[in-house]
Amino acid sequence: MSSFAIAIAGIALLLALLVVRVPVAVAMMAVGIGGYVSISGLLPLLNYAKTSAYWAFSNYDLSVVPMFLLMSQFASKAGLSRALFESANTFLGHRRGGVAMAAIGGCAGFGAICGSSLATAATMAKVALPELERYRYSGALATGALAAGGTLGILIPPSVVLVIYAIAVEANIVTMFQAALIPGILAALGYLLAIAVYVRVRPEAGPVGVRSGAAARWRAFLETWPVMLIFVVVIGGIYAGVFTPTEGAAFGAFGTAIIAFWRGGLRLDGFIECVMGAAISTGMIFMILLGADFFNAFLGLSRMPNELAALIGESGLAPIAVLLLMIAIYLLLGCVMDSLAMILLTVPVFWPVVAGLDFGMPEADVKMWYGIIVLIVVEVGLITPPVGLNVFVINSMAPNVRLKETFAGVLPFLASDAVRVALLILFPAITLWLPQLLN
């Protein structure tokens, strides 16, 4: 069997293992090890495994991951979600659908200090769901907005998934974060627009809330200062090159911890809970990274990604058609898979193919442009059936809303996502403008 065929067989076996509930990390390790041995033999593998796990884990760029996770844990215990939601509510609440818009605004603000989608959705829902219920918002709009709003946590930097993508394609994490900012803000605006359109069709779904005066708006806005301070220090500092992403994340974790102690009533047991939460997420992510390390070693040996890239390059397929095909694959995988695992699984094969195509941009630009598109598309999996995780979590927090309603409520936001992805594909400048300006 040629190594190309071995690689294809390996990928098929991997998918089969995933179907029978083998954890993603274990399936990648098993197939990676098996493929390595069948191409190079046992001895090279035994040699490789002596130190591979150590090298896979001791990477300075990766140390940003546990620190961002720590930051997300503290942020969700810092009591900042209420200030964010109420501030957004004073500005938007008087509009039709305004309270749901405020929930989106709150999610966007929280996403600026939290790199996780689920944590953003769940933290904001605790504050916003009772308010949405009080103003008699339809269950579909209320839960749909929060489930979709959660995905802003990943799009707006900091973002753990984006860090993993950057490491997988050997991109600069700093410029990746810069590239994500404008698409992230665009996402928040697109979601607001989706609500505005939705309540025009269904006015009874989103009644108007209270109107606030200028003074109340200022007061509420100033209440959110810890979020702004942390965002400016962490993300601004990383953008400006004051410190590395890891150092920024350390400041973020430190700052959110202080605010959680000071304003969120965090005590030692809560602190341990946060550290343990971050530890479990870190363990989970690094386990998949270790799996990806073996899997990539196997794919690298097989040279399958390069041959596939050459094959597709010669086939004369339009680059944009290949890109759309990949997006379709991501949407399919997103129905059953977690976004991080999806990126680690696909990028080693997809990135060489994309890099080999001519999109009329330098490779560094394609890395950013493609990365942001992938980031959005894998996040769509969090709000689509059958296993949209955000949808399940938000729905479980709203006991009198049926699951079907929440999935229906997500639809306007999915439409907004589709429009945004189309815009980003057609106009790479949306993604590339800020990194080019700053560098």
């Binding site: 083998v22 002596k50 001791s58 997420s281 991080l340």
Partner: protein, 172 residues
């Protein structure tokens, strides 16, 4: 961020409790190491800008410390069933069938983790023999390996334990 396997149950029997306690101690050490690295990084950056006196070789400490703490996280992560699985295709199947497959993947991970622990014993010996050091602080690398080997061995045992429990659940 990722799906936690459903049906998280704390082990109730003696073996399970000891494993969980050991794994908990490891994760606690790793977690506080992580927190300490965070504080050290903040101190180092402040020192760099305010007093132009950063902590020497801070990023090396962060890199090596992260590696150590990640190894320490793994056994607990498995015992709490923190692995990402795809639940969809077997969700129709009876609980017993699901348990059987979970048991098989437990065995698979036990073999891999055990094998990795065995190989890292030799990796550590190599590191010791060739006196591998970090670039700036000249810290020896080998002491990380015994920690990693212990954590991976515990992970392997924990996998066997959960696999046995899953087999028992499948047989019921």
């Amino acid at each position: 961020m990722a799906e936690i396997q459903s049906g998280t149950t704390r082990p109730a029997d003696a073996v399970g409790r000891i494993l969980l306690l050991l794994a908990y101690l490891l994760v606690l050490c790793g977690g506080f190491l992580m927190a300490a690295l965070t504080v050290m990084t903040v101190v180092s950056v402040l020192g760099r800008y305010l007093f132009s006196a950063p902590i020497f070789g801070d990023f090396e400490l962060v890199t090596m410390g992260t590696a150590v703490s990640v190894f320490l996280f793994l056994p607990y992560c498995h015992l709490m069933r923190g692995n990402v699985v795809i639940d969809l295709f077997l969700s129709w199947a009876p609980r017993r069938v699901q348990s059987l497959f979970d048991a098989l993947s437990g065995i698979l991970l036990a073999v891999i983790a055990g094998g990795l622990a065995w190989r890292m014993v030799h990796g550590g010996i190599d590191m010791f023999r060739y006196n591998e050091q970090s670039y700036i602080l000249a810290l020896p690398v080998w002491p990380i390996f015994p920690v990693a080997v212990f954590a991976l061995a515990l992970l392997a045992v924990a996998c066997l334990y959960t696999a046995l429990r899953d087999f028992a659940a499948a047989g019921r």
